[in-house]
């Protein structure tokens, strides 16, 4: 299977966009998952709904909302550009933002479930041994939830790789800058001789998605073993 340089560019860009999206979203995802799993507060169900919104909204709506707020003339976008020199619209970083937002619910869910599965009696034992709340989190909750965190990262990464609607709406489809595997496939199937190239990228997508599912399964199994102390 021969890849053209343009196809390689799209594949590498997708990997970079998804990796940045996942790495940036994970700490935030862990913090929110912990809040949802362990704390009761006013507006908790609203926060839960907001996190899940990208899952149920049409991706084009999410992308358009991103463009309205993070675009060059949007309230957040103009602030970032004027004060920090950061431009997201029509850049690969914007693609990472769109992918991060779209994959966020899939990232948060396994992390939340794995934190909920951590036995709170172990956290109590940790406190009686002198651990402050942040130490309880760092030495008991986090390591026991780690397989779930990794599973969430894998799922989030896989979703980010395949994201299409919000990305193309927010950052368009610019080869070398914002043309990911999905938008490249979209362009190719609209070109008369693009079929074989499109099929190669389709195959790559299937390989990436399947590997992610297998990795996610494996982490889930590790989680169970870990919680049983073997």
């Amino acid at each position: 299977m021969e890849m053209s340089p343009a196809e390689w560019t799209a594949i590498l860009l997708s990997l970079r966009v998804a990796a940045v999206a996942t790495v940036v979203a994970t700490p935030l995802g862990i913090a929110l998952a912990w809040l949802l799993a362990r704390r009761d507060f006013w507006g908790k169900s609203a926060l839960d709904a907001a996190i899940h919104l990208p899952l149920v909204l049409p991706p084009v709506v999410t992308g358009y909302l991103l463009l309205l707020s993070f675009g060059r003339h949007g309230p957040i976008g103009s602030f970032l550009a004027d004060h920090l020199g950061i431009v997201l619209a029509f850049r690969w970083t914007g693609a990472a933002l769109a992918c991060g937002v779209m994959s966020f619910p899939l990232l948060v869910r396994p992390i939340r479930l794995s934190i909920e599965a951590v036995d709170q009696r172990l956290e109590q034992a940790s406190a009686t041994l002198g651990a402050a709340p942040w130490q309880v989190f760092a030495t008991v909750t986090l390591p026991l939830a780690l397989p779930g965190i990794l599973a969430g990262m894998v799922l989030g990464f896989a979703k980010a790789i395949g994201e299409f609607g919000a990305t193309i709406t927010f950052v368009s489809n610019i080869p070398g800058e914002t043309q990911t595997i999905s938008s490249a496939i979209y362009s190719l199937i609209q070109t008369p001789d693009g079929d074989s190239a499109a099929l190669r990228l389709v195959a790559i997508s299937i390989v990436i998605a399947t590997s992610a599912l297998i990795a996610s399964e494996w982490f889930a199994r590790r989680a169970t073993q870990r919680l049983h102390g073997n």
Partner: protein
């Protein structure tokens, strides 16, 4: 010296207890459902009393009138739970060392050797809790609590989850602990024979109320 004078409502159940203990081992005796575990959780700081005072020596740990509640991690009170609660992701050595690390105490190899030998757990150091027997797990939990250098040790039915044979195996360690470890203990049990062997002072709890206080004789009187 441990001073407790608290009350707490837990749903339909209401607990109200007042006692002062100076003994080496204070036995908290009562049937299941008498409120023993809730009382011990309050001493540990895991449960907040609705009203009252808990103090060790001159230090107030809870005083609802003065809005004082010292969180569990600042109480320096060790707790051995019925179900051991060893950290499954750490081996025995790391479990034993946990309290020292959290309290940022300096390494004390002499204390570690003394305690691991007293509890016969030196040969288990590299094992994970999942590979220990119930009795071994409970001995490691005892060692873990002791090595955090508590000023009071709470033991909530530490033999409760063990069968008859295992109990007979652990009891001598608890007696050794009482005589050698030099840490005052609160020992919770519903087993009068255990109490007679271990406790130096008894608090009798029935239906959430203290019904008798005194030496081990109150076990026969009640």
């Amino acid at each position: 010296m441990l001073r407790v004078d608290v009350s707490k409502r837990l749903g339909e159940f209401s607990l109200s207890a007042s006692f002062v203990s100076e003994g080496r081992v204070t036995g908290l005796f009562g049937a299941s459902g008498a409120g023993k575990t809730s009382l011990v959780n309050m001493i540990a700081g895991l449960l907040r009393p609705d009203r009252g005072v808990i103090a060790i020596d001159d230090e107030t740990l809870d005083d609802t009138a003065a809005r004082i509640h010292v969180p569990p991690h600042r109480r320096r009170i060790g707790y051995v739970f019925q179900d051991a609660r060893l950290f499954p992701h750490l081996d025995v050595r790391q479990n034993l060392d946990y309290g020292r690390r959290m309290n940022r105490l300096t390494e004390d190899p002499a204390a570690r050797t003394r305690i691991t030998e007293m509890l016969d757990i030196s040969h288990l150091m590299d094992r994970r809790p999942g590979k220990l027997s119930g009795g071994e797990r409970q001995r490691v939990a005892l060692g873990r609590a002791l090595l955090s250098k508590p000023r009071l040790l709470l033991l909530d039915e530490p033999l409760g989850s063990l069968d008859e044979g295992r109990r007979a195996e652990i009891l001598p360690y608890l007696i050794r602990l009482r005589d050698e470890a030099n840490v005052p203990m609160v020992y919770v049990s519903h087993d009068a024979a255990e109490m007679r062997q271990l406790a130096t002072q008894i608090v009798l709890l029935r239906g959430g109320q203290v019904t008798a206080l005194g030496g081990v004789k109150v076990l026969t009187a009640g």
